[in-house]
Amino acid sequence: MTFHDAAARDFPPFSTDLCIKCNVCTTVCPVARVTDEFPGPKYVGPQAQRFRGPGVGRDDPDRTVDLCSGCGICTRACPAGVLIAETNNRARAAIVEERGSSLRNRLISDTDLIARFGVPLAPLTNIGLKNPLARWMGEKLLGVHRRGPLTTFARRTFTSWWKRRRGATALPVIADPARTVVYFHGCAVNAFEPDLGRDAVEVLERNGFTVIVPRQECCGLPFISNGLYGRARTKARRNLSSLAKFARAGYRIVGTSTSCTHALKAEYREMLDLSGADATAVADVTWDICELLLDLHDRGELDADFAPIAEPLLYHPPCQLKSHGIGTPAMDLFALIPELRAVDSDHDCCGAAGTYGLKVERWQIAQDVGAPLFDKVRASGAERAACDSETCRWQIEQSTGVPTVHPITILAESYRRADAGVGESWRRIV
């Protein structure tokens, strides 16, 4: 990495040169808002960065940077363009490299491993996830808070459903790239929420897309968030080697997890320094599903036959979505559904921040960060809430009792009602 490369300011630790020390970032930080333990993004980011470097045989000086949840709101708010959250994450990776990482962190980041045991043993493992004693033991032995936002394993993975359905998994011989997409389901859909995957496929197919689900692994974001860059790179390389051929053939890659898609779009290059052609090719064609559907709509190509859903809905844009920089496409899509009263939560962060809110020593912070959001959800009178990121959904649902779904689920439901109720509305006309 030469200074020329870094000088393009895409290399997070070099962006700290832009910092004018104004402290705006610290005023928007959700973690600093709720705990005095965390000095805030400026302190652990651009300020501390000047004191980091090879220590000639000394310890890494950092401690408090580990409290950063990685929500990225600081980076959004910075007027100078400092990549603060990214710098913090790199500092965490440096700590991990020097001091190692706990078994707990390594375990909860390895979602593929968890799923490999969790799904086949689902009735048992789900008892474990729901049983208070089991959770208490999990807290004492592993450090996963007994009330950490976890959901239950699915009986069958999404991929096994896809296989049963004889869905496409490989590069088609003949296909129209404009009408074919690759679905990156992510570990959450695969192991916990396969129904969401089904909804996504349904919505895409309804809009004329052929969906391909190639071989894929966890995007690696939990590893990145926990500073385990080596393991993250392993996942990343495997995913890139599987996805790159599709990208090069012009197929878009669509995801229903704003975390997965952010990893593919940005973090492989920005955090893991995977700067090869594969990473760029994949990043260039990765889309969040709502982003894609809205794009279709702008071109007049979206099936707009949405049936009414007359209910209030509280929508929370996840932090990872904000990092995409695409606004809130879900809200624009909700506006197409008649009678749906969708309201943006206008709250910064739900607190979950991926694996952060699971950790026993961070759980209370996560709850405090999300508390105003939970109040809003409860006060909204909505029977459902919506959010594009899985851990956020689980956090909101767990802390409010209000079922929380992906926006695509709402769209799929509206489409289904339209299909089912064609007769209904015809009858009404008559």
Partner: protein, 533 residues
């Protein structure tokens, strides 16, 4: 404070050399007093690039200096490890550097006793990824990064332990001499109070560096100094972990030194008759960045915090011809102890000139050897044997020091006066405990207050309030002086991020705080012409 005094030796100049001389004198049992016209280490010692030379830079051009450097390098690491960051150094040959210099370099180092280890280029670029990938050869040498303020402080502390005294803000205004021309006393003026005092003495050592010519003149002696102004740029981040030098005859912009949280790109060399001229021109800035590009491509796009200059204390040995008048670099860096009694008939007056900060102790030894002998004192020099007092006697400095200390106590900003450089209230209080009459600029020297990216935008008012509590009524003038000093260093590099910082600073100082309207300033007077059309 006992204003007038009678001592054996008065030392003029509170930089490294003066402090070293004071310590050596005191350790040999002589009663000595040091006077410095400004703050300690505010002269050249405080305005250089912080390099503890291995001497490899001078192996060709000045082998005597080179040998002195490597010997003293080892001594200082032994007696003052906490003032030194053992960064190591590289000499690198960029495509623009001459082959013949590169070829002769290893042998020349060996002859001077400097270990210069060839480094495989892969290893170099892995260790220092920002370096020019077209570097064709590299050697590792024992350069290091030195903290001059602590070094000087430690020498003064040691001198005090041995019974000497050091006073700052005392300007020498006159020498009293006996009928036979010998110096009998030095008259000083307190720059703060205006009071004048006379210090009777048997000898005077002028360690005034670049100002030695002026001091000599006051004593009735002549000393042709050829001060060489060296300008440097301070960059916001460390570009490298080690010192980087070019494998070429010494020239502009060929050193990059990591110092604390910044790195320093230097230097230029312009013969400037007035050692107080510390003005950095835009041409010098451009020249430095241009040369810097050869070491770290892209460095012109890096954030520059400030530009500053120091005056090299070069002695123009009279047998050097006029042809070399402009190239002060060519003048020997070796030091000279001048006995003005023999040369100018001013008995008991000595000047020590030339040399480098790295060799200060040796310069002091040679000086005190001569002075002590003249006073019939035969005690040998032991300054290399006795470690300097703590904190200098601690373990080597490292970059993460302050952050680690802060984090070990739980982190947080509540105690931070200067957030950029992690200067705590405690550190400031301690500095004021030691020297209660400090100005903000004095505090900056010993604590690094205001030396980070914001250049004091946030810490200046906070520190002024701290100062006001200790020295009622002194804060406003100190604040204005500090602001002016910070601004002077920013003007010639005011572009990009640092210009944005300057505008934020202006917004705070003129917009929110209206500092210009402070009581003993002229009332708000807009410079804008409001003539009606």
């Amino acid at each position: 404070m006992n204003a007038s005094a009678e001592v054996d030796v008065v030392v003029i100049g509170g930089g490294a050399t003066g402090a070293g001389v004071l310590r050596d004198l005191a350790m040999r049992g002589l009663r000595a007093l040091l006077v410095e016209r400004g703050d300690f280490t505010s002269g050249t010692s405080g305005r250089y690039h912080g390099l503890l030379h291995s001497g490899a830079r001078y192996v060709e051009s000045d082998p005597i200096s080179a040998r002195h450097c490597i010997e003293e390098n080892a001594v200082l690491r032994r007696i003052a490890p906490a003032t030194i960051e053992p960064t190591g150094g590289y000499f690198v040959a960029t495509p623009d550097d001459p082959d013949d210099y590169l070829e002769r370099f290893p042998a020349a180092c060996a002859e001077a006793g400097i270990e210069a280890e060839p480094v495989p280029l892969d290893d170099l670029l892995r260790a220092e990824p920002l370096l020019n990938r077209e570097i064709r050869a590299a050697y590792r040498v024992p350069d290091a990064s030195l903290e001059p303020w602590e070094l000087v402080d430690a020498n003064l502390a040691s001198a005090r332990e041995h019974g000497a005294e050091a006073r700052r803000y005392q300007a020498v205004i006159r020498f009293d001499r006996s009928a036979d021309g010998a110096v009998t006393a030095v008259r000083v003026r307190d720059e703060r109070s205006g009071d004048e005092n006379t210090i009777a003495c048997r000898a005077v050592v002028s360690a005034a560096g670049a100002w030695a010519g002026k001091v000599a003149e006051l004593a009735g002696a002549t000393l042709a100094m050829s001060p060489g102004k060296g300008s440097m740029l301070i960059l916001n981040r460390r570009m490298t972990t080690a010192v980087i030098n070019r494998l070429a005859p010494p020239g502009d912009g060929d050193i990059l030194v990591p110092v604390h949280t910044v790195c320093i790109l230097g230097t230029t060399d312009v013969t400037v008759p007035d050692p107080d001229d510390a003005h950095v021109t835009r041409d010098e800035v451009d020249a430095l960045l241009l040369e810097g590009e050869r070491l770290v491509p892209g460095i012109s796009g890096a954030r520059v915090l400030r530009a500053y200059a120091g005056s090299r204390p070069l002695y123009d040995a009279s047998d050097l011809g006029g042809a070399h008048a402009d190239e002060s670099r060519e003048i020997s860096r070796a030091h000279h102890v001048i006995d003005h009694g023999r040369r100018d008939g001013v008995g008991g007056f000595w000047s020590i000139v030339g040399g480098k900060l790295t060799t200060y102790r040796l310069m002091a030894r040679d000086t005190v050897d001569a002075v002590a002998a003249s006073l019939d004192v035969e005690t040998p020099c032991r300054t290399a044997d006795e470690p300097l007092p703590s904190p200098a006697s601690g373990t080597p400095y490292w970059l993460g020091d302050r952050l680690a200390a802060l984090e070990a106590e739980g982190g947080g900003n509540a105690e931070l006066i200067c957030e950029c450089e992690l200067v705590t209230q405690r550190r400031l209080d301690h500095a004021l405990d030691e020297r209660g009459d400090s100005s903000l600029d004095d505090l900056r020297r010993t604590t690094r207050l205001g030396m980070g990216p914001c250049q004091g935008a946030f810490c200046m008012p906070r520190a002024a309030a701290v100062l006001d509590a200790r020295r009622p009524g002194a804060a406003n003038a100190s604040l204005r002086g500090f602001m002016a000093e910070r601004f002077n260093g920013t003007r010639s590099i005011a572009w990009g991020d640092q210009l944005a910082e300057l505008w934020l600073t202006a917004g705070i100082f003129r917009g929110i705080l209206a500092v210009g309207n402070l009581a003993d300033a002229p009332p708000e007077a807009s410079e804008v012409q409001h003539a009606a059309s």
